[in-house]
Amino acid sequence: MKGTTTSALRCMVFAITGAIVGLFTMPPTPAVAQVQGNNAIYSSTGSIVPSSAFIDASQFIGTGTDHSGNVCGAIYGILSGHFPSSFSATIGAVVDARGISGSTALTCPSGTTPWSNGSTTVSAPSTILLPAGTISTLSTWILPANTHLIGEGDGIPSGSSTPGTTIQAGSGFSGSTVIQFGSAVGTGITVENLTLDGQGQSINGITNEFAQNASYVNHISLYRIHGTGLLIEDSANNSGPYSNITFNAGFTPPSTTVCAQIIGVTDGTHGIHGLICATETTSYPNAAVLLDSSNNSIEDVRVEGFSDGILVGEYGNAQSNVLANISGDTPNGTTSVNVIHIANVGNTVTDLSIVGVSNVGGFGTITIKDDPTSTSLPDASVGLYALGEQANGGHSRFTTSPNAATWVSGTTAPTSSCPASASGSLYSNSSGSGGNLWVCPATTGGGAWKNIR
């Protein structure tokens, strides 16, 4: 009896001990099944539970099943559903890859991007947060609709500055552009806060041929891109704005290197707003910005190191465009330098409004060169230049530059002569005496203002 009691007591004590030890040593088990890469949060009971607010891609870096050795493979594994996560191919998710580091993990092998593995592609919507550092790639990143690619900051590398996130086209890059907006007409593609480094290859930086509404670029640096930094073409209607873009071609770019081009977009875009185009050479590429499309706005632009700042209508019709706050800072080299150059090569260029152009490139540079009207304005700055349409053998046009036909207002009758470049100008004398309206005569070499009676 005593033995029975002792045994029972012993069993009870062990049971209590086991339960207590088990209670204290047991991890705070999630109330629901853990999902790899999910964020961890505290529940109302104090236990740690997963949240699908975002998926941490660093948990998929490694070897073996459900892992990849590089950031592209890890993201692709999540987006494609090959790796077990809470990702929904229909709704998408936020994929946080900021925890991935190291040159090996940041090197994407040929044929692998976050959205492709060989010939297999995924098109799920997502927000991708890229890590700081340089991600090397050998293939074009084709972003599907409703994809938001966000880095940790952009910039042009220098001795004292390293950009936050760089996507670098490795030697032997196989595509024609580093990033492509979609492969068919769609919406909602954005790229922000990162740098693209072409390493001097003749490739494009960002190409948008298909993405329309809600597709834009913000805070992007384009470095050593020797093709076209930003190419907007064809079906990219109503895309943009393309904002806060810094382009630096680096050393020895070919003459065909272009900072940005808009061409053949039928319905127009929401414009390029905030653009710096520069090179680090005295052998200037031909043109920084090519505007060969209608219904666009380009504003807040600075150009340094190109023969033409903005070349309008060289490769396509360009009508009803607005250019505002354009600054050129290219010294006069061996060729002519124009901040804005309106081409006359057979394409239609009409209804172009230019507001605020300046030229700090020094002697011999032209602020606006208008080939259709054979006008060159050497002014350091021009407030307004509006080129309308052809009519009656001339062009409707108005400019505030005194180096072309303009309208001058004064409070006395003009006494000095006017230059030949200002022939056709009007002068309004508001004093009420000495003649009210005057014209600058079209005599060779200019001459004295003539009163219109």
Partner: protein, 479 residues
């Protein structure tokens, strides 16, 4: 001996648990309940009683732990705001992460009360919304310092509720989102505070679900630091306005990267004539707007001073105007550039004093740069004030100044355009420049032509620099 052995064993087995319990209680284990493991807090590694362990971080509070269901995000948001706002002894602000909610079956149903209704003062909140469609039962009224951020205008959608589309009740209210707490709270004519600053809406879509008279985003009184970016507005019905900047939204904006589809109005900027003179409803503009119009309503109503509309595309029908200016209130000193229209009656329509309604309003000092008709046979600009219609597919510049008095009556308006065209017979007076004298052909009466090359400007043995168009009489040199 056996007894002794049992006694020793019994003693050990009796005391062992006590020793164990004592040890467990005395060691600074990750005593989570005594450190920071507040509900919904993000888990990070920290130092709790001298030991590195997981702890909660207030950096983000996950809304999934505050809901009454796995799908109602607004009740969860309301619960968090009620828990942490200053009146509850909370902090000065919070980031609420609702991205962890289930991706299907989402609702926003806080019993007809905006989730921010418990917020007072300047409590700041950032709400991160999940991707997916959220059935919206009530108006979201965003107070000062509130930021609503989705996963993208193609990913996060609030859809106004109807029972026909699976909701338990229909949407209550006239607006889907109010920037500020609604007109009644900020009408200066009633002495209410006019400003709820720093209200931001980004990366989401509003689906009005074809509900009549339902507005999308209405800003009655959110001013400085308030803006909208990357927002899609879809399925709006007649009587509804997608983006309505009403009366006291001064200095708010820009309203950027917005797309709209529906048969209501795409956008309106309105300044009531009963406003105090200091309230002009001048904003930082709408920059980047696409309006896909069905029905018969005009797309954009501009009825306030000192605004900019930039990078706008409007498609619609042949009875619709793209931008209608001055039909509801005075509109002066506005700037419009890069506007394209497709299929419209007019891309831009400037109302005369009574051509758009019985009540006269004034439109002056309007600058338009870059207008295009990309499809259809409509006009670029109809200006009722100067009786001018420009049919050309493109207009570079059209600047309407102010009325010019002659004696006691108006004799016209100061105006300049680069368009040499007009419709049907009246052309716009412009100024042409050429290196040779003007050729024959139609010209707008009153236009000027400057011949700029002296070697080419002789005609009939006389040099003319300046020419004037006499209408059907052609050009005549001016001596």
């Amino acid at each position: 001996m056996k007894i002794t052995r049992i006694s020793v064993w019994s003693s050990w087995t009796f005391f062992a648990p006590l020793i164990c319990i004592g040890w467990l209680l005395s060691v600074p284990t990750p005593a989570l309940a005594q450190c920071n493991n507040s509900t919904g807090f993000n888990t990070v590694y920290g130092n709790c009683r001298g030991t590195a362990t997981t702890q909660g971080s207030f950096a983000m509070v996950d809304a999934t732990q505050f809901g009454t269901s796995s799908t109602d995000i607004c009740t969860a948001i309301a619960n968090i705001l009620a828990t942490y706002n200053p009146t509850s002894g909370g902090t000065s602000g919070i980031v609420i992460d609702a991205r962890g909610f289930a991706s299907t079956g989402l609702t926003c149903n806080n019993g007809g009360v905006s989730p921010w209704s418990n917020v007072s003062g300047n409590f700041a909140s950032v709400i991160l919304l999940p991707a997916g469609t959220i059935a919206l039962y009530e108006t979201l009224k965003l107070p000062t310092n509130s930021k609503l951020v989705g996963a993208g205008s193609g990913s996060t959608t609030f859809r106004a509720c109807t029972t026909a589309t699976g909701c338990s009740s229909n949407f209550s209210g006239s607006d889907m989102i109010d920037m500020g707490l609604g007109f009644a709270t900020c009408d200066v004519s009633t002495g209410k505070a006019p400003d709820y600053p720093a209200v931001v809406i980004e990366h989401l879509a509003l689906n009005a679900n074809h509900i009549q008279n339902l507005n999308g985003i209405v800003n009655d009184c959110a001013q400085e630091l308030s803006s909208v970016n990357d927002v899609a507005l879809a399925n709006f019905a007649p009587g509804g306005i997608g983006l309505w900047l009403n009366d006291h939204s001064d200095n708010s904006g820009p309203y950027a990267n917005i797309s709209y589809s529906g048969s209501g109005r795409c956008a309106q900027i309105f300044n009531s004539s009963t406003n105090k003179p200091s309230n002009l409803n001048q904003t930082r503009g709408i920059h980047g707007l696409t309006c896909a119009m069905s029905g018969s309503e005009n797309a954009i109503y501009l009825d306030a001073p000192n605004n900019s509309l930039e990078d706008v595309y409007i498609s619609g029908g042949s009875t619709q105007d793209g931008i209608l200016i001055g039909s509801q209130a005075n509109a002066y000193n506005n700037v419009i550039f890069n506007v394209r229209g497709s299929g419209l009656r007019n891309v831009i329509h400037i109302c005369g004093t009574t051509t758009c309604g019985a009540t006269p309003y004034n439109v002056t000092d309007l600058t338009i740069l870059g207008v295009g008709v990309v499809a259809g046979s409509g006009d670029s600009i109809e200006d009722d004030l100067t009786n001018m219609t420009l049919p050309s597919p493109y207009v570079g510049m059209y600047i309407l100044g102010e009325q010019v008095e002659g004696g006691s009556s108006s004799i016209g308006y100061s105006r300049f355009t680069t368009s040499p065209n007009g419709n049907p017979t009246v052309r716009a007076a412009t100024w042409l420049v050429g290196s040779k004298p003007p050729t024959t052909g139609a010209c707008a009466a009153g236009s000027l032509y400057s011949c700029t090359d002296g070697s080419n400007c002789n005609t009939t043995g006389e040099l003319y620099t300046l020419w004037g168009c006499q209408g059907s009489g052609g050009w005549k040199g001016i001596r």
